[in-house]
Symmetry: C2
Subunit: 157 residues, 2 copies
DNA sequence: ATAAAACTGTTTACCTAGTTAACGTTTTAT
DNA sequence: ATAAAACGTTAACTAGGTAAACAGTTTTAT
């Protein structure tokens, strides 16, 4: 056992904060998520895109002409919930709902030039903030973390 | 480069799903968090404790006579938000708000016997479900994950 | 050919989880 | 003694999501 004065203090401090909760993946996940999400909001500012609107725009830019149903599935949310998100992006002039010749049910989502540049800009700012927030994690650690999180995600269809 | 038929297919599939979003820690964190949180709810059932109520109870059991302010700080939420949580736990008969002799502002939170057994029970069920959900992660991976998440958490005061 | 089933986008009502600002009470500092 | 701070609480608000129902459209069975 470590016997130095420092480690005893550190041990004591850890004991003080320690709780059953720390053992749960879910709890740690949530606490970390809240921190990163707050940083995200700080990165894009008060009138900037919210996390979910940013995510939707990202996918529309990358997968032009995607339908709302497919987009909702990709985001892992219900398509009813996507409506307000697309409304906002359309309202900001970042994408358009366009009709599709073969199928009058769907409306393909097409990013505008403005939407594309807005996304590139936001992407850069978020990345910058995230890098700063996580500066005490090495590149390898970040990659490990993403790998483990995706392993959790891979469980769901 | 891998040349087998399988790897080409796997590569194609990965490409199809790949998006800028996967690079963001925040996005991966959120998606994983949603999965684990849903599992948590499944573990405790429709009328079971919600995640935050469970967390609050956990800390009250472990730190008997804690005040609401200190508890809120431990949970990383505002003390105003804690009121409803404590109301619920008190309503279920899992804890009591008790007056403190020296200070008439505070109300020490004391778990009832019922609260303690309810917590032990819930704790076991959540752990069981979490283990099952994360069965494709090794014990070492889970520990690594927790360590990395706590490294993120350690950034905030 | 026609009826049934399935899919698309949408609205509405609801739920969970949290914040900020204000207030009355009590305690601490000056 | 008085000002400042801390405690628990309420009220109004924001964010993010679900479930159920709907009208219109397309696909599938028969």
């Amino acid at each position: 056992m470590a016997g130095s004065e420092e480690s005893k203090i550190a041990e004591l401090k850890r004991e003080q904060d320690a709780s059953d909760l720390e053992e749960f993946i879910g709890y740690n996940l949530k606490r970390a998520y809240v921190i990163v999400q707050n940083d995200f909001r700080a990165a894009l500012g008060k009138d900037g895109l919210g996390p979910r609107v940013f995510s939707a725009l990202s996918l529309v830019v990358q997968f032009s002409h995607i339908t709302q149903s497919r987009l909702a599935r990709k985001l892992g949310i219900e398509r009813s919930g996507l409506v307000a998100i697309i409304d906002e992006l359309e309202g900001r002039g970042f994408l358009a709902r366009t009709t599709v010749p073969g199928d009058r049910r769907v409306q393909a989502l097409v990013p505008t030039k403005q939407g594309i540049t807005a996304y590139r800009d936001a992407q850069a700012r978020v990345k910058e903030h995230e890098d700063l927030l996580l500066e005490n994690l090495t590149a390898a650690e970040k990659q490990t973390l993403i790998g483990l999180l995706q392993k959790i995600r891979s469980g769901e269809e």
